[in-house]
Amino acid sequence: MSASASLRNGRPTEPTGAGRWAAAVTLFLIVLPFSFASAGPITFSSALPVSSGEGILRGQAVVTRASGDSTPMDRSLTAVAAPSVLVYGLTPKLTLFGVVPFFVHKSINLTTPAGSVSRGSNGFGDVVLFGRYTLLQIDEPGSTLRIAPFAGLKVPTGSDTRSDMIGRLPRQLQPGSGSWDPLVGMALTWQTLPWEFDADAGYRFNTRADSFEFGDVAFTDMSFQYRLWPRRLGSGVPGFLYAVLESNLQWQGKNRAHGRVDSNSGGITWFLDPGIQYVTERYVLEAAVRLPAVQSLNGDALGGDFQVVAGMRWNFFTPLSW
């Protein structure tokens, strides 16, 4: 797993300096959907319960594409990530989560005065650990309403010192951030037999690492899942096929490097995500496409074209429970 740089016209580029590269590759922070593992939304958390002693394993593949650069650099970005989420129900109300990005690939192509350049890296990303507690639970026959705050920490397990033949990669292309970033939020779920509505809101405090600090992130999401099949429920526990529509609204503050604000970073994005989900008693299969509805980015920050998310979840029981 190493950083790489290639030169399409055969000539090496002159060192442009970390600052110039940072400006060249400034783009919207590639945010992996922080999707929890219990059945519910595809791209974010829900407040659905996880039984005491129950474990859930979730695997995802996330592909991000960003292009359409209006600057002469004609930048285009591709990112691929394969995060796994391990969930454990410590008690009926307290659930623990670990998001492990086993594989993160980022690459950018851009045009410089010396020719086209590609830079990128592969590697293990930053782990996110958090807990969620059910604060409000209103159960009715065939429906439940839950509200659950969550809090956690992004741990700098990914490398932030990758380099290639040109030099050290900009922060945005590193597998990890190098910083310890706490996050807090609240999730709401209203689930009924024919449909489900989920919403969340949260904030991540991005801290400084090696004189660089990504802008803080505030986010709010919504999801509506409608059961397409079966139209009528028989006995037992049949599999459910859902049509899904989700919304992800995010504001990101400007990055800071050596105390100076990067005016070409941060902004507001709003994604709409149509998707599909098949839910059984033991597993979930799902996929969604995140499409930008609004991108109000600062300066020359590169906006996203789309993001594809696909994954499955599988539940199991452990002998451990409190």
């Binding site: 319960p49 005491s52 129950e54 026959p141 028989g234 037992g236 979840r313």
Partner: protein, 138 residues
């Protein structure tokens, strides 16, 4: 001729009571001894309301927690009816409090619990008894 008529009267005097007695015996033995079967069959299944259950993925935890209770040999979950049916093996039986706690441990709210004998088993046993006995009488 008179003695034959007298013998006929005597036959009727003893024959009618005998026929009546036989009729009574057969009638008694033909009645399905349902009450007798019920009193000998303890409740072996419980229908438990599970409040708040609304998706297939959530049913797994409910099933596992109920299945781990003492004496439980099978658990069936019904999403549409918001219930779980617990079958016990007859040697042990979970208490209502244990069932309620299992539902809570699964993250849901327990509702009513109704114990019942397996109706099919009770009817089958009583039907077999009456058919067998009729054969023996006939």
């Amino acid at each position: 001729m008179i003695s034959a008529q007298l013998r006929s009267v005597d036959s009727m005097r003893w024959g009618v009571p005998c026929l009546l007695a036989l009729f009574v015996v057969v009638t008694i033995l033909s009645v399905p001894p349902a009450s007798c079967a019920e009193s000998q069959t303890a409740p072996d299944r419980a229908v438990v309301k599970v409040v708040g259950m609304a998706c297939p993925f959530c049913a797994y935890g409910i099933r596992k927690h109920l299945r781990s209770l003492p004496g439980v040999k099978n658990v069936e979950v019904d999403l549409a009816e918001s219930k779980a049916i617990i079958e016990v093996n007859g040697h042990a039986k979970p208490t209502d409090a244990e069932i309620q706690q299992a539902i809570k441990d699964a993250g849901f709210t327990p509702g009513s619990i109704q114990w019942q004998a397996s109706a099919g088993d009770a009817l089958t046993k009583s039907a077999e008894f009456s058919v067998t006995d009729r054969k023996s009488v006939v």
